[in-house]
Amino acid sequence: MSIDVAVPRTDVPQKAKDFKTDQEVRWCPGCGDYVILAAVQGFLPELGLRRENIVFVSGIGCSSRFPYYMNTYGMHSIHGRAPAIATGLAASRPDLSVWVVTGDGDALSIGGNHLIHALRRNVNLKILLFNNRIYGLTKGQYSPTSELGKITKSTPMGSLDFPFNPVSVALGAEATFVARTIDSDRKHLTSVLRAAAEHEGTALVEIYQNCNIFNDGAFDLVKDAATRDQWLVPLEHGKPILLGADGGACVVWHDGELRVVPTTTVDAEQIVVHDATRTNPTLSFALSRLTAQDSRFTPVGVFRSVARPTYDRLMTDQIAQAELAGGGNLDHLLHGSSTWTVPASRSE
């Protein structure tokens, strides 16, 4: 089998329905997963990749049923291990576009180790992390992104677990592409998915996803028109970071950290201009920590998008280099450097 390093493209126009399967979608009515599925099926045709070269790999959880509904190659694997399985697939087949679909419990609790290692290696994977801040499939326990004090089935007096911020975790692992978006904003979701798809290397996209059964309204503050302007911090590369339709608040450096302040209180040049391409992840990380000022501040968009050679490309290069230096000769290998021969005359 010869291995190409690029995912083969098709000239045949594709439609969203080409990516739908005949399987009945079995999420709860009203689940945010439906919107994400429609967005993914709607935007994949834009990429123009051959459908047979696309693979969706998932772990366990509500979101992990995703591959069954995608008419591509797919694997619904085991809890937390999708990044590891996808790493083996992507590293051995650079001609595939490999997507991981995971949730907050799958990616950050049982599979936390695999997630950070996939991110640091920069394997060519697109990881869609559906964050609903709850365990849905096991019916309502708190997750590693649930807020402190949350009352759930397993925390009747409130959760004692300090939550992970998935974007901060990914930036801490020096992921080369990190973004956040919201299930209800199809346009933003699609634009972020597009940017992730274009990125060479591991892309982590946190998607705020509403679980209307066990954690309904978890993201209402940044969805409702009445509150959105106050808490949503849209990030656009190269542009000053402003909140609200009228840009009434902005992000500035203050005392060594980023803060949201009324725009009227600062000079225009003090407003931080977003730069997702800085090799040093400090600015991106500081943006992810706006929650320190108030946990309701929610930056969305691409936090970080930097170029670094991918693991699978480096591995393929090493093999090409070794093969160039002389392909393997099994007979030579088996002989090694020290042999002896028993002539027929000495044998029985």
Binding site: M75, R81, A91
Partner: protein
């Protein structure tokens, strides 16, 4: 001075010293010399789990035993004929294994009051009558090495480090070993440090010359080359042979080899070896943990690679869930378990056969996995090819069981030619006119299609949820679940159709007792059976390569004998399976000391069983 030369047919040598004394290197090198000379041989390296245990202590003793002969041998030998003891700890730890009258070559320089106290010697055993039962050769190895290296400009401490080469030189003289290989090896090993190359070569020569000139060694020995089938041979360890077997399987199947692994003793050398062979298209992935190692391998298998994960028992515990997924996905995967002493961390550098039941049953649900076991270091090559054959042909995970003794032990190996190795057909699925059914089965093997991403028209989804027969769609139907469970079991049973008849070794043809075995005990069971036969009781021997499924003819064979004796380095794991499966009584001989059986012990155990009433 002309010295006496005595002919021997076999010798067992044990090099013993501190972990930092280079005993493994000396042993390896003596083995290479012996292999090239043409003796048959078998080795048993034995070292502590600590990288540098406290110097001079009993737990820090590292040894290397080598058995070589002018005839075929199958074990590394029970008891040494010659013990090289580099310090008091090595003497004390190994003396109990040394029969009276045998030779001890002892490094007198290390017998200081401090070193003696470390191991609890109240008085120097070299001074009193304590060692009078043995032939003790007192050699000031360290000081003579330092003296021999005066011209090199090395400090005393650095010079003393070459004392293992002095010992090697002395032993090489005693047994008339060819020295070219060692001289070449040292030049190459220290090519970038010519001063050290010179020092080690000088120490080696000094050791040789010492043997030739000193009066403390009046006799040297000759062991003629063994009579072996014609062919080209090399010396090979189990881990190396296993790695080569995997590369060969990749070549003969046309499938690129992918190894996902996490470092673990005693399996890591397979990862090290395979990582060198990128020119063969081999991809090695050192994962963040055992789970990711097998996960990545399974992902690569989905993509059409010959996928392998290598580990030892504790790693298998972590991989269990993914093995279950591989059973459900029905994808080829070779799982190498180089067994070591357990439970838990157990005895990382020692050997045991205690993972058989874990391989057989260590998963949730009915999750049958074929099991193949290697029976000698060189046989690891063939066992790897066989594991790959079953994995690819039947689309299934396969256990390949090796162990610490096979992994590090070595033996002469007739080198096969690539052209003579079996080929393997992966037969990837391609789109046809009919809708693709990912779980439709081959009538003969019951294997499902291997449809890899990149194949147009075969887009499909698989997972760990129960799937409908033929279509592979999610199914919670009770009847379908039972069908699928029985199909997966039947598929594994089908492997028996591809197995050759068992070989029964019964020279007399009249044995009423069968000694059954599996894995690394092959050589020692062979030796023990021969000894029992020489004592006048005919016994038959059968050794199993396949533990799951058990070969189709095993039941009939077992029932042909009055008694079945089954030696295992566990508390009776195969015995449990055989009894349950065939309702045949099996009498176990069981040992769990982290060491292989000794032939004499096994002979006695079998003999005692034979003297008693059948259990």
């Amino acid at each position: 001075m002309s010295k006496q030369v005595q002919q021997l047919d076999r010798v067992v040598i044990r090099f013993a010293g501190d972990s930092g004394d280079g005993m493994q290197l000396a042993g390896d090198q003596f083995t290479s010399e012996t292999a090239v000379f043409g003796n048959d041989l078998s080795t048993l390296p034995n070292f502590p789990a600590e990288i540098r245990a406290p110097a001079g202590t009993l737990p820090g003793v590292s040894s290397y035993q080598l058995h070589f002969a002018d005839h075929e041998i199958t074990t590394p030998g029970d008891q040494p004929d010659v013990l090289v003891a580099m310090n008091p700890a090595a003497l004390k730890a190994n003396l109990p294994d040394l029969p009276p009258g045998r030779d001890i070559i002892v490094n007198t320089d290390e017998f200081s009051d401090r070193n003696l106290a470390k191991v609890g010697y109240a008085a120097n055993p070299l001074d009193g009558e304590e060692l009078s039962a043995w032939k003790v050769h007192r050699v000031p190895l360290t000081s003579m090495t330092i003296k021999a290296l005066e011209h090199t400009g090395l400090g005393k401490k650095d010079a003393a480090r070459s004392k293992n080469m002095f010992a090697l030189g002395l032993l090489s003289w005693m047994y008339h070993r060819p020295t070219d290989g060692t001289l070449r090896f040292l030049s190459k090993k220290f090519a970038k440090l010519p001063q050290l190359a010179e020092a080690n070569i000088a120490a080696f020569r000094a050791g040789w010359n010492y043997g030739e000139t000193t009066e403390s060694f009046a006799v040297s020995y000759e062991i003629k080359p063994a009579t072996m089938p014609p062919g080209t041979y090399r010396n090979i360890s189990g881990n190396l042979a296993l790695a080569y077997g995997l590369v060969a399987a990749s070549r003969r199947s046309g499938l690129p080899l992918f190894l996902g692994a996490y470092p673990i003793t005693p399996a890591s050398d397979i990862l090290h070896e395979l990582s060198k062979h990128k020119a063969f298209g081999v991809r090695t992935f050192q994962a963040e943990d055992e789970i990711a190692g097998i996960g990545a391998a399974l992902g690569a298998s989905f993509g059409g690679a010959l996928a392998v994960t290598t580990t030892s028992g504790p790693g298998i515990s972590l991989k269990s869930e993914t093995i279950g997924l591989a059973v459900s996905l029905e994808l080829p995967l070779v799982i190498v378990d180089v067994m070591r002493g357990g439970p838990s961390t157990g005895l990382p550098t020692k050997t045991e056969q205690t993972d058989l039941l874990q391989a057989m049953y260590g998963r949730n649900g009915e999750a049958p996995v074929p099991i193949v076991a290697a029976q000698s270091p060189g046989d690891c090559f063939d066992a790897a090819l066989e594991a790959a054959r079953i994995a690819v042909t039947y689309r299934t995970p396969v256990f390949l069981l090796s162990d610490g003794y096979l992994a590090n032990g070595s033996e002469p190996w007739p080198i096969p030619a690539e052209a003579d190795l079996p080929t393997l057909q992966p037969d990837f699925a391609v789109a046809g006119d009919e809708p693709f059914l990912p779980y439709e089965r081959d009538a003969e093997t019951l294997a499902r299609p291997w449809a890899i991403p990149g194949t147009p028209g075969l887009e499909h989804r698989i997972g760990g949820l129960e799937k409908a027969d033929r279509t592979g769609e999610i199914s919670y139907d009770p009847g379908n679940h039972e069908v699928m469970i029985r199909l997966r079991q039947a598929k594994v049973e089908r492997i028996t159709r591809s197995l050759p008849p068992l070989h029964i070794d019964d020279p007399s043809g009249s044995a009423r007792v069968l000694v059954l075995g599996w894995g690394s005990t092959h050589g020692v069971i062979d030796a023990a059976c021969n000894r029992v036969r020489r004592r006048g009781v005919p016994v038959a021997q059968v050794h199993l390569r396949h533990l799951n499924p058990l070969p189709a003819d095993l039941g009939d064979i077992l029932r042909r004998y009055d008694r079945v004796i089954l030696p295992e380095l566990n508390l009776g794991q195969l015995a449990l399976l055989v009894r349950a499966r065939y309702l045949v009584n099996v009498e176990g001989v069981n040992q769990v000391r982290g060491m292989p059986f000794r032939a004499a012990d096994l002979e006695e155990s079998v003999w005692e069983l034979l003297q008693g009433v059948p259990a």
